[in-house]
């Protein structure tokens, strides 16, 4: 059924269709509408599961950990400060190999306090061992939820999944969204059947102390599984396309990249703006396309190299920064091409921090200003009294 609904409602509808057994809820802008919608579904008997209003995000993550360990499909959602507060538990969940799904309504991190969108929150947990997917629009964000459970609950994967959707920009935007039937989702996403869980029928001990002679292998296995997850993520997206007729890419997606000489690289809702910008540039004869990173973890190095084989210049436009190093996506994209036969020039631009607007004109300026150059760590659209030049104090080569 096609509805014109808020992004948060679209997510709540799809979460409901995934039949979660336990939901832990704690409010934080801009995710709150998701848990509010879920609580109404529960109150109206549409969602049959345990809905807990917990005492903090730390509590929320711990509750979904316990529920999953006991064999239940569990769900929570958070952002920014809440994601950080859960940080400890996120590592615990991946270490315990529990396929929990959490939606992160990406938001900037305090201090100073800012409730608007950027990707810095997700970046703080990029090493936590979670699969991390970024959604471009509300339909994709909603559809990611059954996909995420399917990926995580795969008996060869057993990993938690963080679904990232831009706070306010997606969560609070009203877009037409296709909500599938319960039966369609049930066919696509069967019941969760873990091989080991807390039960008196098979009393096992979980969460043990691992001394130096035991710990390292668990990390190696996480590394291995992230490599294995690459093909599972692709297959899950393909199966979704077969079943529901919608596809947004697997690990990555491309837009007008086939004959592109230059390409934007980005994640999340920015892709939508970039598509309009690229269409305009193409109309003017520019050979430009987009590389959309959909799976940030595992990072799809191989796919990126493959689709950029003939692209000369990559323009990374991102909403996060690793202080003391450089733009997060900028650095990871550069590293993907290290020692490769084909090494495109990679320029990196940081924009949209703390929810600052990204008008198409900005992206066109970036496109024009970086032609034939390698621009590194460019903070864009800052106040001129703070940051001199068109791209702040970025280093410019060429």
């Amino acid at each position: 059924m096609r509805k014109l609904i808020e992004g948060s409602m679209a997510v709540a509808e799809l979460v409901k269709l995934c039949r979660p057994n336990v939901i832990a809820a704690y409010p934080i802008t801009p995710q709150t509408h998701i848990v509010e919608n879920l609580s109404q579904f529960v109150a109206d008997g549409e969602l049959k599961g345990e809905f807990l209003n917990v005492e903090s995000e730390f509590g929320a993550a711990s509750v979904v950990l316990g529920a999953s360990a006991a064999g239940a499909r569990s769900y929570s959602t958070t952002t920014s400060q809440g994601l950080l507060l859960m940080g400890e538990v996120l590592y615990n969940i991946s270490g315990l190999r529990l396929p929990v799904v959490i939606t992160c309504a990406n938001r900037a991190i305090s201090a100073p306090i800012n409730i608007w969108n950027d990707h810095s929150d997700a970046m703080t947990v990029r090493d936590a061992g979670w699969i991390m997917l970024f959604a471009e629009d509300n339909q994709e964000a909603a559809d990611m939820h059954p996909q995420a459970y399917k990926i995580g609950e795969d008996p060869n994967i057993c990993l938690p999944v963080l679904i990232n959707m831009d706070g306010f920009i997606l969560t609070h935007a009203f877009e037409p969204v296709d909500i599938p039937d319960q039966k369609e989702v049930d066919d696509y996403l069967p019941k969760y059947k873990p091989s080991e869980f807390l039960t008196v029928k098979d009393p096992r001990t979980f969460g043990m102390l691992a001394e130096p002679q035991w710990y390292a292998e668990t990390r190696y296995k996480l590394f291995e599984t992230h490599e294995d997850a690459k093909q599972v993520i692709e297959k899950t997206a393909d199966d979704f396309k077969d079943k529901f007729g919608r596809y947004y890419g697997g690990l990555i997606d491309t837009y007008r990249l086939d004959d592109a000489e230059r390409a934007f690289v980005a994640m999340g809702s920015l892709i939508g703006t970039l598509k309009d910008v690229v269409d305009d540039l193409r109309d003017k004869g520019e050979k430009v396309g987009i590389l959309k990173i959909r799976s940030f973890r595992p990072f799809p190095k191989e796919k990126i190299r493959e689709v950029c084989a003939d692209v000369k210049e990559l323009i990374v436009t991102e909403k996060a920064f690793s202080f003391g190093l450089g733009g997060v996506l900028q650095e990871e994209i550069r590293a993907a091409f290290y020692k490769q036969k084909h090494q495109p020039t990679v320029s990196g631009f940081v924009l949209g921090l703390g929810g600052r607007d990204i008008p198409p004109a900005t992206l066109i300026n970036i496109y024009n200003g970086s032609k034939g150059k390698e621009i590194t760590n460019a903070f864009v659209d800052l106040r001129p009294d703070i940051a001199p030049g068109p791209f702040s104090a970025a280093s410019v080569k060429g």
């Binding site: 209003n53 950990l65 538990v89 807390l198 008196v200 979980f206 102390l209 001394e211």
Partner: protein, 305 residues
């Protein structure tokens, strides 16, 4: 073999404990004794969470686990929240009759870092028994002061010196904090009185809703006493009034263990433990009096006379 004047009552064979041998607790550890009694009173149909701490570390160094029921350790401060998740899962999956859920934690993991999750669990009314093992310090990390460390106790972060008599704060009343959530059952117990402890566990598990049990568990290493005195010291603590044995239902005291003519002076308790050695001196007389007042206040408050 001795003669008996009564008819011999045949006792059932000893069954293997649910917290079995081979764990790495210190010799004479009150907490391992407490946990053993709790588990055996509870029985095998329990899913148990435990916070980081001595109990978790000495019982589960991979691949050795002393637990014989389904058990999970997550983090230091979330035993109650993980248990809440498990209890909710059992409800959602129609498995409520399979097992009870017991959450465990030490004094640090419950009263300090874990108090948020504990409060949330109690407030939401989960059907969980929370057992706090109070050995009065962060023992596993080397005896640091916690919110339940008693007045004047030496710990590695509250040592006595020229400027200090040791821990300068009184124990948080965790029993009443838990009871204030208006839960059906909150009680203290001691390994000094094993039968009382076990019967309280059995009683609690028959009640539906959140239950809280705080067990006093002496620590030979942290309290600095000879290992064989664990039970004796636990008993004397109760008989001085320094660790009141109280039951509360819906935030009202319903039963206490009176000390009456068995009352012991606080000196009898303190003199057995190295952590109070500095108090048992000529210079420490005023501190001793302060501790007497604390004991008296407990006796007055709960009517333990």
């Amino acid at each position: 073999m001795s003669e008996t004047t009564k008819t011999k009552k045949i006792k059932p064979p000893i069954t293997e404990s649910l917290l079995t041998c081979g764990h790495r607790a210190c010799s004479g550890c009150g907490e391992s004794l407490g946990a053993k009694l709790v588990m055996d009173a509870a029985g095998p149909n329990n899913i148990v969470t435990t916070a980081t701490g001595c109990l978790e570390v000495f019982s589960t160094p991979y691949p050795e686990s002393a637990w014989r029921m389904p058990w999970i350790h997550s983090l230091f401060e979330n035993s109650a929240a993980v248990a809440a998740g498990i209890e909710s899962a059992l409800k959602a999956l129609g498995r409520e009759d399979e097992a009870n859920v017991i959450a465990q934690g030490g004094d640090g993991g419950t009263a300090d870092i874990g108090i948020g999750c504990l409060s949330g669990m109690l407030e939401r009314g989960h059907n969980i028994l929370y057992v706090c093992y109070d050995n009065e310090a962060y023992m596993n990390t080397g005896v640091q002061r916690s919110g339940l460390t008693p007045y004047d106790a030496r710990t590695s972060t509250s040592p006595p010196g020229t400027e200090s008599w040791g821990n300068q704060h009184q124990k948080k009343n965790l029993l009443e904090i838990a009871a204030a959530h208006n839960i059906p059952y909150a009680a203290t117990a001691s390994v000094g009185y094993p039968s009382d402890l076990m019967s309280k566990v059995k009683k609690a598990l028959k009640i539906k809703g959140p239950k809280f049990l705080m067990v006093h568990v002496p620590c030979p290493l942290g309290w600095a006493y000879k290992t064989e005195l664990t039970i004796e010291i636990a008993k004397i603590a109760v008989m001085t009034g320094l660790f009141p044995i109280v039951e509360m239902e819906y935030n009202k005291v319903t039963r206490v263990r009176k000390v009456g003519k068995n009352r012991r002076p606080v000196e009898d308790y303190l003199k057995l433990q190295g952590r109070f050695r500095h108090v048992m001196t000529e210079a420490g007389k005023i501190e001793l009096e302060k501790i007497r007042l604390i004991a008296q206040a407990n006796i007055d408050k709960y009517g333990l006379e």
